[in-house]
């Protein structure tokens, strides 16, 4: 099966190419194209109906607010923990580095359950105490932000860590020896070197945050116009036979996610990132 470099193309080359294209066409390209087609079936009617429905617009607004919060938290936490993991020695570093990936293997439903057990208003471990000081987590925006931050937590870290390893510490040490403080070194040397990995991690997190469904469904309580996010609206509209609105909302969500990915793919310089 090895088609070696600069070898004439054999029937196998074309066969494999055809198989791959057909597989991706049937699994991804055609289905996605159909959703776009269904969204615009009656011209812009579906989009207009969806965008004039307060249930949809409120949900989109909540989704954007939650996603921005979650991504901001993950970015600050991600950069901090990546620097600590790569640049410092402390007991338990290996364990922490392994645990960071945990959220990627946990079912969104389990994430929701876990957060409910910890922060549920009546019988969660911390919930009642937090409620006493006036902070409701579960079935409110903070809970939705936490669920979203949970599921997208490793994405920024996974992008930055290999690049930090790659760039080494020489420039940072040079900056320090020339009298730069830690902040100055970070802003002038470290941040510019990890810029593209960071942007890519942020975009992946954003895509994931906008699209989270299972964890949010459990933690939010799914109350229309209050704690219902855009993905929850898609489910509700579809089940209420308002399929036009469901397709339109799906289209908007998919558009943001895919557009962000494509833009970063085009922007990102190639040699800068293949860190490992």
């Amino acid at each position: 099966m090895a088609s070696r470099l600069r070898q004439p193309r054999t029937a196998g080359t074309y066969g494999r190419r055809l198989l791959v294209v057909a597989y991706l066409f049937l699994l991804v390209i055609w289905p996605v194209a159909l959703v776009v087609q269904k969204t615009f079936e009656g011209g812009l009617d579906n989009l207009q109906t969806a965008l004039s429905d307060p249930v949809v617009t409120d949900a989109l607004q909540l989704t954007v607010v939650v996603a921005l919060w979650a991504v901001a938290i993950n970015t600050v936490f991600g950069v901090g923990i990546s620097l600590l993991l790569v640049r410092y020695d402390f007991p338990g570093r290996g364990v922490l580095s392994a645990l960071i990936d945990l959220p990627l293997s946990v079912s969104p439903v389990v994430v929701g359950l876990a957060l409910l057990l910890a922060y549920g208003g009546t019988n969660g471990t911390f919930g009642p105490a937090l409620q006493d000081v006036g902070l409701q987590v579960a079935f409110a925006t903070p809970g939705i932000v936490m669920a979203t931050a949970f599921v997208s937590l490793p994405l920024v870290i996974r992008e930055i860590v290999p690049v930090l390893h790659e760039i080494g510490t020489e420039q940072e040490q040079a900056a320090t020896s020339l009298g730069a403080g830690p902040w100055q070194t970070f802003w002038r040397i470290t941040l510019p070197s990890i810029k593209w990995a960071l942007v890519y991690g942020v975009v992946l997190s954003l895509a994931r945050a906008l699209g989270e469904f299972g964890a949010v469904k459990i933690v939010s309580g799914n109350v229309a116009q209050q704690t219902q996010t855009a993905t929850l609206v898609v489910e509700q509209k579809y089940q209420d036979f308002e399929q036009g609105s469901a397709y339109a909302t799906s289209f908007l969500l998919a558009l943001i996610a895919v557009a962000a990915l494509v833009v970063v793919t085009i922007l990102r310089p190639k040699d800068d990132t293949d860190g490992d």
Binding site: S3, D101, V109, L117, R158, G201, S250
Partner: protein
Amino acid sequence: MTVDSSSLAPGTARRRRARGTGAPLTRSSGIGLGIALTWFSLLVLIPLCLVVIQSVDGGWTTFRETLTNPQTAAALRLTVTQALIVTVINVVMGTLIAWVLVRDEFWGKRLLEVVIDIPFALPTIVAGLVLLSLYGPDSPLGVNVANTERSVFLALLFVTLPFVVRTVQPVLMELDRDVEEAAASLGASRFTTLRRIILPSLAPAITAGAALSFARGISEYGSLVLLSGNLPLKTEVASVRILTYIENGNEAAAASVATILLLVALAAIVLLQVVSKWVARRG
């Protein structure tokens, strides 16, 4: 381009390099570590521990009762079987796709690179809707898998598409083709080259991709909501069982199923690592 190995593979290269030189903690970095660990514990570790604790809280009876419930047992069986089948297909198709993307050159290849990432970027509920449009009741192909076991298979196949491709691709890019040519010039057949040279080098990456794909498969929820109909004993998966238990206020049973899912994922990762080592050594 796009989701590279580092974003999907549970760091192979990264972990290897993680040991080594590092400065001891300074005062400010120590405080930073403290804050980061507190947040990580509050968000991830403590809640997940509570799930495990909850599942064994009432002794083993809740655990055993939950598992012997026929509906739950059927859901777990369906989830694990379908995730296994999908993982096997991903190992074959994912490696093939990575191969074509790296070694072949044709018009539209860049587009395929973006297509691979779509299942990762698309919200899961939208993924379900997307599949429903081609394989649902109004299918232009006349294939309707909605509310059958095949819908679970299809949804898992869709959402796990990028994992093997994105872990194998970078390794394949760096693979030294001189070795393959040397093997061929020494009389190795294409099959021998594949088995003795290429597969052993790809084994760790394929394994990492397969583990991610399996873990994602058994935990999938969103894409199945609209597609599978969640029929008890037929198309209901483990995540849906957990949700039903939560909605009925039976958190202990929900936690039991969740713990089993965590254990299955862990077992799969360990098993795959063993297989990967074996393949790499044999080659």
